[in-house]
Symmetry: C2
Subunit: 196 residues, 2 copies
């Protein structure tokens, strides 16, 4: 299915509107009609670019990952322990904004659709890509002797992600940044406990 620049813009507008609505109202709480009304597109456009609503959700998940990674650019260049501290600080800065601590859009979908095997696989892939940047950073540290050779970078990254996700969840419903601060601090301290 070829696509012209103009068509590309229309498709993006649909995904944008869907991403925002689904973040606020959940996936099941966001009808296709509302998405189209918010994006200004028509129904024929929606079903021209997506086979069905599920496929739109897939595109939204990808969009979420892009957004998330774009807001923490430091994660792509972790080469020292202070870099990890700066990464944590970059995340905290995001949540100190006027809109308060914000939930992780991937986590939102995980709760609602985590039992659907198809969605679960997509979310797993997204989280793994997110984590992979942490894993890469830890590998770099291990190579330059900052991380203990016996440490398992992938597993450490997974644990870090787990703590972060929980902090985001609790911080959001509590409208308080301290859960994010604490869980991130604990996670990074745990990483540094494997320093050599």
């Amino acid at each position: 299915m070829a696509v012209t620049p103009h068509g590309r813009r229309t498709r993006d507008a649909i995904v944008d509107a869907a991403a925002e609505l689904m973040y606020v109202n959940g996936v099941s709480g966001t009808s296709v009609d509302k998405v189209l009304a918010a994006s200004g597109a028509g129904k024929s456009q929606m079903y021209h670019y997506f086979k069905n609503k599920d496929q739109l959700v897939e595109a939204v998940i990808d969009r979420y990952l892009e957004e998330i990674l774009g807001k923490q650019p430091i994660i792509r260049e972790l080469t020292s322990w202070p870099d990890f501290d700066r990464w944590a600080e970059q995340i905290l800065t995001l949540h100190r904004g006027p809109s308060g601590p914000i939930a992780c859009p991937l986590g939102n979908i995980a709760g609602e659709l985590g039992d659907d095997p198809r969605v679960r696989a997509l979310l797993d892939r997204a989280y793994l890509e997110w984590e992979s940047h942490l894993t890469n950073g830890l590998n770099t540290l291990r190579d330059n002797g900052s991380l203990h050779p016996d440490a398992d970078p992938a597993r450490l990254a997974q644990a870090t992600m787990a703590c972060l996700q929980g902090g985001l969840l609790l911080g959001h419903i509590r409208n308080d940044i301290t859960p994010i601060e604490d869980s991130l601090r604990i996670a990074v301290a745990h990483l540094r406990s494997h320093a050599s």
Copy 2:
């Protein structure tokens, strides 16, 4: 609104069916009709005991909290550091079962409806009650000299809950217990780092 034992049973059946369906398919993905079909009740019964679907969701949240606390009875009698280890082990045992790592039903709802201020408050209350048992345990430890006097039990409990929630989320979508193991281990180790 008085209620007879028989009516009570009917109401419970509705809440039971709703709790299970909403855990699997999400709140918006669970229609009132499906709940009634699964519980064998009729529509007039549903709207006899609940003003609307939102009120049913509230009852479901309460039910979730009861279930959760019932499955980790040790949390009510934490009086030593080994008790915390046993608590963590009790949770892990739950998720080593045949159905694999299971998501936290409260976390599921948090993702889907966390932006609704009303639901958010209910979830906050539920999480606080859950945490309160950890806080009580830490207070006991502080009183008997096992926890450093300067430690903040409530905040420590909050951080523990955050790590646990994240571990549950990641463990569920990854169908792997290691995120829960690691995040719980990290959280309890962090607690013990404040021992005196």
